[in-house]
Symmetry: C3
Subunit: 682 residues, 3 copies
């Protein structure tokens, strides 16, 4: 099945990136050269206007669009398109200094000076008004421009403001949510330490000791961002109803609930800067990337997403930023496409000459010409993408869903106890993703409020917070035949971070058939041993070293499939299964090692008959991902190792789109960092 | 000998803890259930009202006591008592926002928002007035209530405020202490860096470079807390002259001089949260706990102290908070009793549902019933304490005193040099406590201004600061026959942190018979070797590895018992003895290892004929502590190991109060974490 | 050749240090004792008045000089002299509190309280006026005093202020430098992130993301210090035109460009506190010290510098401050003289009794008498210096210059990328100094704007920033026959931190004959191998392990002398030579190990016939330095090891000035930490 392209006027894979010609207007010849080099690199898109406010409105109410007209026209006449940004990511000096309210106030109550970027108050009426004005001008001016393909709102929205305007809005929001101070007090358990609220006016700070308040703040700030986005979007929607809107998000950035934000975007975009050749082995880094890719593909129901930023060579902000090795850029770029991106875009097109990002990788380096290794690598990607144009909109179907839940992350990160070190929520979710990646099983990564009724297998590691209805929906999922996997620290708090009374895992106690009485917390130098019961139906390892956290549970209908072998709770269940309705629910009581997770997932995939993109095992570090349109099936065969690999892809009939060669012998051979995109008619 | 009970109306050991029913008023049935469960757990006490201000005075001047009346009545009718708290530990929102002056100002000059707890200004007249008003209401209302057993002032007083009110009070205090700016300048050596004061008005910050000023600030804040306590106590003393007053202190919390604070309390209370099963071995952790226990017992001349808070299972605030293993809670609880506590009390009775302490251990867990491991462990302690009722008030006599001095800790922690890493004052004192614990010698832990004339042996590690008269009192102590042990870094500064001129250890130079010329500072990877002189009268180890600090000393009447074997000062004295009058004074010039300390203490105990609770050696990790009333002698035999131990306690005649069994064969056998409380008529 | 003495009235080596009698005026007998002890220790100088403002002007406009008159007179009558300080390093309380503007504002916008020292605003007109007034009084009063030898401005100037006065001055400065906001915007690349300036008024903070602005700030603050110094100096120049002016600088303290500051001083002074017996081996620490010594000697064209502060025993501010071992103080003191200091001076003469420096080493300890090890060590130095009086003004000629450039350090430290960890600029320069030290080659350490035309060999490690004309001057230097060595990360930015376009190393591309395309960044656990080409003309090691940074370069006229052996750029040049005009330019593309640097420098020294102080190799840890007057040649032979060493110094004819013994057999034997000062007539 295929989704429509991002913009039907540009129905191919996009190749481009951040482009700031306004930095170069006084350097002769640069724009001409930029256009020439785009052609050489197979670049068909440019993200323009990001941080350009001072160039577009040099004085309050005085607009300057000539330079942008020129770029838009040049792009159009070259048959390329423009991702046009609203400029709100960086405030001009005149704005920041004339209207102090637009600058954020920190948690210490001090207002920021005008510096860096991404530090405007989301609430300030003045800022919203000024953003509305410039966005309106942009939309009016370019609404019919043939180059305009997509709106790019602001840039990497991030951070919070603690000003009086924000607190006034927060109090209003709280009143809408909780109606009376007394109800809010109860919801926040604020009688604790005498924090009882007798008026909403008493909310004047985000007290970290009142977790419900911290949660409310994060929800409020998410809503505040959404209304900011709505304000930004209004003139764009009005003047260009057919031009989609996106903004570049940042992985699992925790300050806003992206799942809610995404509802207000036509497409989601992600900025991806993996630490290739870094601390982790290459293929483990690839797993972390794939996890995020699948998260973004799942955000809008499988619709293609946009890789808005990546680096053609290295970043400049890590303590140690390693150059991408030859071939790595191509592999990394096609990995994004494999997992559902319809673009490969960069920060940045031309490396800036000064200030903080002057050493960040770019397509065109300070030397200025095309005779660089990096330019050649980019050109290769340009050529590849051109060969994959019909892939545009292709979808990926998954039978497995893994829950990564933003608000649960908030609950875990704010929690004091049971273990404050190595809480590892995202890491734990990823540890459950890894064996699926190894087995080449397509996975959706979703939030607990997204629909999961269609999956065969639902895995929800560390789902500490159960928002209203989630427990019931999981129960129904299992009763209807689904298989559900939960872990330690599940079902402990409700949406206000109040503990469930009557026994953990709260609303999931029945479907899981267990009661978790205590959580043993292990020091780093200690471990617990988990041993399968006789018969070992899921082929678990003979002995697993659990670490960090071990729930001590009692069976209430479930059966134990493994038990602990050490400590005062030796013999008690460590892993349970509860057959419930037509399905089954598993509880993994301890933080287990990779072998345990692999065995568990492997057995479930096999037992449930879950589809893998290729039937045979693939070598370590190789992954095969799939996408499909109505008439073509694509396999991306990717080698995240530094040695040559041969991969059995099964039956012939595939053609390698990048080389044009037909696959024979049911296998392809990949060079180090190699990638093949195999296609077959359906 | 026995002291009277904490409150003669409740002449037994108390078992209870923090109880916040006001958090649960809107949860039906909870209070009834609380009362039922107290009965099951053998709980006879509840600490109520801590942080309850907002529940007691929901609006300014509007009081609400019904819920508290109900709890008081229920406790009384069940034959239990209440430790009633004043609510000043947490401010209601209305108070904090209407009267900003009650909120603290940080060292950076910014006033705190209303958040968390324990952050009121100690000086604010408004705060003192409001505290006085609510305390007066509480005292009036409950003065004749049969459940009222003890006043619990506020909660864990802590921290400083840097507001204008505090500084005005500080200037007044300085004037009282120092009379003229010139005298203060001299006392603080403030001509240094031109800090000369020509007016008290010039004191507007706590300049860390002027150590005398930092010291004065800490003394002032101690006095400010005392006057705050006096203000809190006034209505309690007026309406309930027979109800004692305490507040829960926190070990060696450095911000106030607890020795001075304790003078204003009828009983001292301590909150104890050892890291059992943590970084240290169990018995070493037990030594650290015992050291603090003895410090608290010694604070009020041997009077029983109150274990006000401890956790029945785990805390929630350590990076890694481990569950107490089965039996550990009983052992830990009885250890406190062994060292002089007449209570075992918890934070908290019922686990709160939300906010920052919801994962902190409690008697009643979120599950709500009694069928939990922790509840059973608590009930066991309840049963044990019931069997030990006649122990109430029993005392412990010590022939050894160890000095741990709050103001000395201030001097050491503020000092720049001679070694800024691993100053280890408390640790060093504890290193001298450890061999006494191993030998089962009762010890008092006192401040340098407390009376030490009654002891046979006085050990004062690292007593850098000698306040007025201390040197003279030590000299007299030795002249009269006492044995005194000092170490490196002793006698360097007076009470204003001015170095003694004329040679260290200043006022102790004569009694110690040495001059300490320099202090060699060793890097962590280096050590010095200390070798006994021929004959080795104290049976020191053949060679000790000293580390960190080595004083280079000259004999002035003392004899060397050991000398250094390395570096340019090889051959010079490392350990000396000076016979002085009827006694002797020892100088330990270097930071020595455990073997040295053990040998030194062992020889002194033997030579001085100091009494041990049991004559025979006990196995590593076992400790025997004693208490006695007029007619009964108790031995607490405690096994801080995870293996069974047999302990020779000497002659028979003892009965184990917990089991009722008579001791036979002069020995008891303890299970892992086991404890026996042996009693014998006197 | 010999320079004139610091002050012709005191034509000998100075021995003295910080002396604060005003701290002791109320302690009877101290001043008399001080004078007596100076005589015993061979002390002929005292640095008086540092931080004495409150003693000199106890109230605004009320002066008190009697105590200072007394000291000046006593010094004069004992035939000693005084280094007289202006008191601006510490503000009296009355000044700080009456005129808040004199106290600094931090980067967070909050004004400092009156505390510590060195924290006045450099811009404040009030502060400048008050400093001018007191300095005028001092100069008037002592202008004809026979003890007055040198002015010591303030103390260790340091730090920045962010107050409105400073920003107003900064904006004025920017306008002078950049003329229009638009030119400034271009120079700072401030269109980036919409930082475009349309008015100078928009500069209200030091935005770290705009590197050009950060650089400008540091230049401004340097200029602000210079004008502060000019204000301080004006009355001194007026009343005492013949008394030289200095201030004590601090090694490579980065906040001001000392090279510019030095232009406004008659002599430069340095405060030196090496970590002898610390983390590094003794001789490596000695290399670090010698590097700084040579930097200071080179600051004023070879003129003797002033060791203004050092400690006779230990400091008190390191985490671990080790005592100088016996003999170390003498060796360290003479090392400074060997490298061009005409003084050995201390902080401090008499140890202060209280406050933060009371445990810092001093000549006279708290014990107060001369019978201490440290006093004896100081007296030895006093005796030594007395024997070396005719050395005064002796110079050192170097044929090698090494560039350490303050502004380049700014560029490197602010840069984001390519590697943010272990940038190691100073360390890298020192790594190139080390082999020269080992070979006993005299070296000048200069800034890139100082003249280097006179040297045979110019080494400029990591010269990332090329200020105007520097590239041209280097090209001319090589063309004229000089040998030039550059490394990776050279020639990347101009004076505004704008990258050079068209290919790195920018202006040096032609003279080096290479183009550096990329910089590979290595993680700590990785390395690259550098292998010499066949023939290996510079005798490089067979294989070098490079780390951290490897430039990937292309030859453009240069020849490769070594190449990389690993990674995708294996075989590409790692070390190149370009014969250019009459000279040659080398490019060291990678951060190499000590063996590579040693081989490179050794070959260059040999090939260029560069003079060494002694021809033969000296044992590891021994260094021979030279100075010469018109008629005498001095060799300082120093043993920075803890074992005896015999050093071949070549032909006889030398006499050891310290022992009076003639050198025979062409060699001297040095005890551990030993030093010989050999002299021979010319």
């Amino acid at each position: 099945m295929a989704f429509p392209p991002i913009n039907p006027a540009f129905p191919h894979l996009w190749h481009g990136g951040d482009y700031n010609p306004e930095q170069w207007l006084d350097t002769p010849g640069i724009i001409d050269e930029d256009m020439r080099l785009m052609g050489l690199a197979g670049i068909n898109s440019a993200s323009v206007g990001i941080f350009s406010w001072a160039a577009l409105e040099p004085e309050e109410g005085v607009y300057e669009f000539r330079w942008l007209d020129d770029i838009m026209d040049r792009m159009a006449s070259a048959g390329r398109h423009v991702v046009l940004a609203t400029p709100s990511g960086g405030k001009p000096n005149w704005l920041a200094l004339k209207y102090p309210e637009v600058r954020r106030v920190g948690e210490n109550g001090l207002r920021d000076p005008q510096q860096t970027r991404h530090n405007h108050c989301l609430t300030s009426p003045v800022y919203r008004e000024k953003v509305l004005a410039i966005n309106t001008r942009l939309a009016e001016r370019y609404k019919d421009h043939p180059a305009l393909a997509l709106w790019h709102l602001s840039n990497e929205y991030g951070g919070w403001c603690y000003c009086d305007l924000c607190f006034a809005a927060f109090r209003k929001w709280l009143k809408e949510q909780y109606e009376t101070p007394d109800k809010m007090t109860s919801a926040f358990w604020a009688r604790f330490w005498s924090h009882t609220f007798t008026s909403f006016e008493q909310v004047t700070c985000v007290d970290r000791s009142v977790h419900g308040l911290s949660l409310a703040w994060k929800r409020f700030m998410t809503d505040q961002l959404i209304s900011f986005i709505q304000n930004e979007s209004a003139p764009l929607r009005q003047f260009t109803p057919d031009v989609p809107i996106t903004t570049n998000l940042m992985g699992t950035f925790p300050m806003y609930n992206y799942i809610k934000v995404a509802e207000h975007l036509d497409f989601v975009s992600n900025d991806m800067y993996p630490d290739w050749h870094g601390e982790r082995s290459l293929w483990r880094e690839a797993v972390a990337v794939a996890f995020l890719d699948d998260l973004y593909r799942s955000m809008k129901g499988g619709k293609p997403w946009i890789l808005m930023e990546s680096t053609p060579s290295s970043v400049n902000w890590r303590p140690i930023s390693v150059l991408k090795r030859p071939g790595m850029h191509r592999l990394a770029s096609l990995q994004a496409v494999a997992h559902g991106s319809d673009t490969v875009m960069y920060f940045q097109y031309r490396k800036s000459r000064g200030s903080s990002e002057k050493y960040h990788g770019a397509v065109v380096d300070h030397v200025g010409h095309e005779h660089t290794r990096v330019f050649r690598e980019v050109s290769q990607v340009g050529a590849d993408l051109a060969k994959l144009g019909d892939l545009c909109g292709a979808s990926t179907d998954a039978e497995v869903a893994l829950i990564y839940d933003w608000e649960n992350e908030w609950a875990i990160s704010e929690a004091q106890g049971p273990r404050n070190e190595a809480k590892n929520y995202e890491e734990t979710v990823r540890e459950h993703y890894l064996p699926l990646w190894k087995m080449n099983v397509p996975v959706d990564v979703i939030d607990s409020v997204q629909d999961f009724s269609k999956y065969k297998l639902l895995i929800a590691p560390m789902l500490m917070m159960l928002r209203p209805g989630v427990g019931e929906r999981i129960e129904k999922f299992v009763a209807s035949g689904g298989t559900f996997v939960a872990t330690y620290l599940t079902g402990m708090v409700d949406e206000n971070d109040l503990c469930f009374l009557g026994g953990f895992p709260g609303p999931l106690r029945k479907v899981l058939g267990i009661w978790a009485e205590e959580t043993d917390v292990l020091r780093d130098e200690h471990s617990q041993t988990v041993t399968p019961v006789d018969g070992n139906p899921l082929n678990l390892p003979a002995s697993t070293k659990a670490r960090h956290l071990c729930d001590i549970v009692h069976l209430e209908g479930a059966e134990a499939l493994a038990s602990y072998s050490e400590q005062f709770y030796a013999g008690s269940p460590a892993f349970t299964r509860n057959v419930f309705g037509k399905g089954a629910a598993y509880y993994v009581a301890s933080r287990n090692d990779e072998a345990f997770n692999a065995a568990l997932i492997r057995s479930l995939v096999a037992n449930l008959g879950i589809r893998r993109t290729v039937a045979a095992e693939t070598p370590e570090g190789v992954h095969v991902q799939e996408r499909a349109t109505a008439d073509t099936h694509y396999l991306f065969v990717m080698n995240f190792t530094e040695t040559q690999q041969t991969v059995a892809v099964g039956a012939d009939g595939y053609t390698d789109r990048l080389t044009g060669a037909a696959v024979s012998g049911g296998a392809v051979t990949l060079a180090p960092y190699g990638v093949a995109v195999l296609a077959k008619g359906l």
